[in-house]
Every structure is written in C-alpha cells, then in structure tokens.
Amino acid sequence: MVKLKSGSTAQGGEDGAKKRRKIPDSAPLVGVLLFMMVLFSITSEYFFQIDNFKNVLANAAVTGIVCIPSTFLIISGQIDLSVGSAAAVSGMLLAQVVNHHGVVLGLLSVLIFGLILGCFNGFIVTVIGVNALITTLGGLGFLYGVALLIGNGQTLGMKNFDWLGTAQPIDIPLPILIFTVLAIIGSITLRFTKFGRSIYAIGSNPNAARVVGIRSNRVMFMTFILSSVAAALAGAVLASQLSSGDPNSGLGLELQVVTAIVLGGASLAGGRGTILGTVLGLLIVGVLNNGLILMDVPTFWQRIAQGLMLIVAVSFDSIRAKLNNTRS
C-alpha cells in the first residue's frame, strides 16, 4: 500500500488533481440558496429579518418533517405519494380525538394511525408486490376521502392544543426544532448505520443488495412505516399551528416533498441522495416562495416559478446522471 503510494507519482498527482477538482455535491445548492437570499434581501426590505427567517423555517419545517424519511424512500428507489393525504387524516383525527378525549390520546391516535398506514403501504409494496407509485397514489385518494369523512366534509376546530405548532422554546418555533432533530438523526442513520447503508445498496442495485444478504423487503417495510409516521407527525404539527384539522391541508404536500428531495440531489432512480441535500432543497423552495410573496409577485407567476422549480429539480437529476455516466 505504502509502496504503491510512494511509487506511483503519476497516480498520486492524478489523485491530487481529482481532489482539487472535487467540489462537494451540495456546493451548487448552497450557491443557489445564497444567491436567492442576496437577491431577495436587495429587492425586499422585509426579507433579511430574524422574524422572516423564522417564518421561512417554520413553514419549511412541516414539509421537512416528511422529507426526512421520504429521502430514505427515494434513495431506496421507492416513493410515497400518500403523505399529503396522510397528514390531512392525521390533522383531522387529532382534532377529533383531542376535542373529545384529550391531547395524550390524540397524539397516541396519530402515532397509531401512522404505524398502521405505514404497515399497510409496506405490506402492499413488499409482500403483495404492487408498485409503490400506484399503491401510494391510491392511498392519496383513499386517505383524502377518509379525511373528508372524519369531519363530514367540514374542518374541525381544536381547542387547547397549539403548543406543538406554535411554542417557542429558546425563542425558536418548536416545529423547527423537531425538524432539526429529525434531520440530524436521519443524516446519522443514512451515513453511519447498517440500515442507512442498506437503503443506498437497495436503491443502487436491488438484486445485488439481496445477493449480499440485505433483507430488502424488511428495510423497505421499515422505511414506509417511517414515512407514514412522519406524515402523521407533520399533520399533527400543522393542525396544531392552525388549531384546526382541515381535510384539504395536506393537498400538494407530496409534490413539495419530491421537489425538495430531488432538488437536493436525490435520484428518482434510487441509490443517491443525502439529508443535507434535502435540507438545502427544502430551504431553496422555502426561500423562493417567501421571497416571491414579499416581492408582491402576482400569484400566477408564483405558481409558474414553483412549477419550474420542480422541472429544474428533475432536470438536475437527469443532467447529473448523464454527467456521471460520461465520467465513468
């Protein structure tokens, strides 16, 4: 080993050049984020304020809570499109149970709902063998119906339970703290645990993963459970922020989640992605939305920008894949 290093000058030089050329994957995202922050700071006097940053982060936190396990899923080559409707059901369920049986049972019911839904999705995908896209697309419609059913088409007010969404320990909104903790745990899990490495292996090559002894179905089953529990938690946080369960509250959440994750560098084909990238993708989307509102950009243009962001995110994914193929 030592001999090889000292003996191969040319090789060593090439390695050094590669190291010098190697720019962190997250660098372009950080660049885009900084550029947007500078742009909005110049164009809106309200952007560069602590309160505004808190708003951006608090808004992003609900989506972010779902993004963490969804990143796991996408890296493993799966997807969960039912998260928005799951969050809606969770919010409605929470409001219903809190109003009649108190906060503890309300939170417990949300947790159980998340677990059951995760098991259901995991079972359909890993045991029955139905495609995850189809399974969770069906779940999206099915759960939206359940959310409407719980409130008979109405929203449900919720009393005495706004702390989960609005409390500010150490002057930071609680949803931001929850998201931060989840992001750290998620990042450690992906990078340093067997479970995390299994996710990458399954996403890169499911057959090879199976051959080397990774229990793919078990890992994916677990990941679906995490995704559904996170969606349920996000729904609870959102309902707490609004002091209300709203069957329409999670509509479109799944697209926001996919946008942030793919923009952050995860591949829809599986095998690649990081929590740091997802967080950066989330912040870019959050800052863009916030900046456009502060600049009084007409709402139709905001929608165009948000749609373009999704296209750009997926294009990034394709371009990266092509570049990687060219290099290899």
Partner: protein
Amino acid sequence: MKAASKFRAGAIAAVAIAALAATSVLPANAGQFDFRKAVPGSGKGITIGLIGLDDAIGFGKDVHDSIAREAKAAGAKLVFCDSKLNAATALNCAKTFKLKKVQGYLNFQPVSTAAAAVCKAGPQVPVISIDIEQDPCQTAFMGADNSYAGQVSGIALGKYFKSKFDCKFDAFISLEDYGVGLVNEARMGGYRSGFESICGAGSIGDKLIKIDAGRLEPALAKMKDALTTLPDAHKVVVVAINDEGIQGAFSAAKAVGRAADIYAAGQGASASAWCDIKNTPNWIADTAYFPERYGEIGVPYLLDLIKGKKVPFQLKIKHVAINASNLFTVFPAAKAKCA
C-alpha cells in the same frame, strides 16, 4: 318566508329586479349593504392587506381585482397574499402582513376553524372577513349571505316548477362541494328551503341525490352517471354550489342527449357563465354575487375602520336572481359578450 312571499309577489318582476339590482327590490336581509365606491384620496398613506381565496378561481380573482381597483382609486397601498385555498398559506400571509406593517386587512382565507391561529399570527389591526367568518379578530363581516343566496335561486326554481309542472319532478340533484364545509351546507340547504317554500315542505324528500361534484370536470363525469341511473326521468332539478357545476351538468346532459331533461339553477352569475345563462333554455335561475364589486364594500369600510370610524358588523351583498331575461340589465357588459 317573508323573503319568499315578497319574491313571489313579483311574478313578472324579474326584469325589474335586475334593473334595480343594487337597490332594494329584493327583500333585504339584515345587514345587506349597497355598494359604495372608494373616495379618491381617502386611503392616501395607508397600507391595507388582502388574504385572497385563490386567484386561480374566477370568483377569488374577481374579488381580488375589485379590491385592488378600489384601493388604487382610494390611493391606498394594497399588499396582496394568495391563500391558494390553504389555511397554512394564509397563516404565512398573516405573518407577512405583520412584517409589512399593514394597518388593516381583508381576510378571505377559506378555513374558518383556523381563523384564530391566523388572527394571532397577523398584526392586531382592523380586519374585515370576506364570506368566511374570521373569529376572533374580525371587526366586520362582508360578502355572501350563503343561505339566502341559495334560497334566491331555490325560490326561482320552485316558482318555475309550480307554474310549468305543478311542482312535479323526478329527481333533485344537488352538485355539492364538501371541501368548503359550512358554505356548502348553507348554500345547498338554501336551495332546498327556497324550493320547498314554493312547492311545499318535504316535497324534495327522497328525490334528493347529493353528489360531490361542485366543479366542472367532476360534474361533467358524475352527471352522466346520475342520468344513467334515471333513464325515465324527464324533469330533473339540478342545483350546484357554483356555475361551473351547472355548466358541467349541461355538458353531460348534452353528451347523453338529455339536455331537455334537466332544469338547473346555479350560484355566482360570474362572467364566465353569462352566455350559458342567456343561451341555455333550461338554465332557470342563477344567484348573482357581484364579486367584481366586493371592493366597493371592503375597501371603503376598511379605510373607515382604520380611521377609527364605526362600521356595522354585517356588510352583506344584496343577492339578485338572474335569468336569461334580466341578464343584460343587471350585467350590461354581458350584452357585448353574448351578442
């Protein structure tokens, strides 16, 4: 009932009602107000906000445009934030208003049960809610009187069926939108109470078919199915939570060759429905909401509140029943559009 009897008394008065749309030919419900143009310069130096319903919806866009027009006329600065039918977005809008130091705002966010959270997040300034209650911070409420608006067209339909068919009909299809909660109940319930006030209590009974299809596409799809289940029905009453539902219903009925079997009433009388109301023989009635004039109540009264003047709590729109014969009188712009 008082409203119904007065309305009935004007049997041939539809045209007259339309001609005097903004006056009080229709029985005035409590709290109904005349439109009032903003006084030029009355808003100079004042920043007001609007949390919009959703600019992607014609009604919401009309309300937004009218408020922007009146704010400009008054010389006030308008900060607009679109809730996009989402309470969480509305919450963010309220926070933005706080940052931007608006001195009063109009709130058209769609989830009344989330109103307390939105109120808390926003600046503590005068608030006029639009169409949807915004407790606890609303200083005044303006907009549609949904139950009454449903009744207006329900009564018109009832009168039509009484005069043409002695109140005999085969089915009463209600194209609803469960997503809008209480508004749906009030408006659709209003249709039924209005219709039954003419054709008799309980006359709808088990002929009622409720379908969650308040918008164009679901109405188009589901009305075909509904008509398939009613093969021998030739007098089908159709009511919808908005005009799009009725447009979808007629398209569906035409597609299956049964346009003559349905008799419909809608809500809104929006510009996009004018020509259909005029040219569809069985579009019996439609309730006008005048979203394009909401700013003529919202802006002047909000400016009054900001200046410390007293404003009545209820600032409701005067709804008017529209049909093919009075359309051009109530909406002169429709003449050029549908000629």
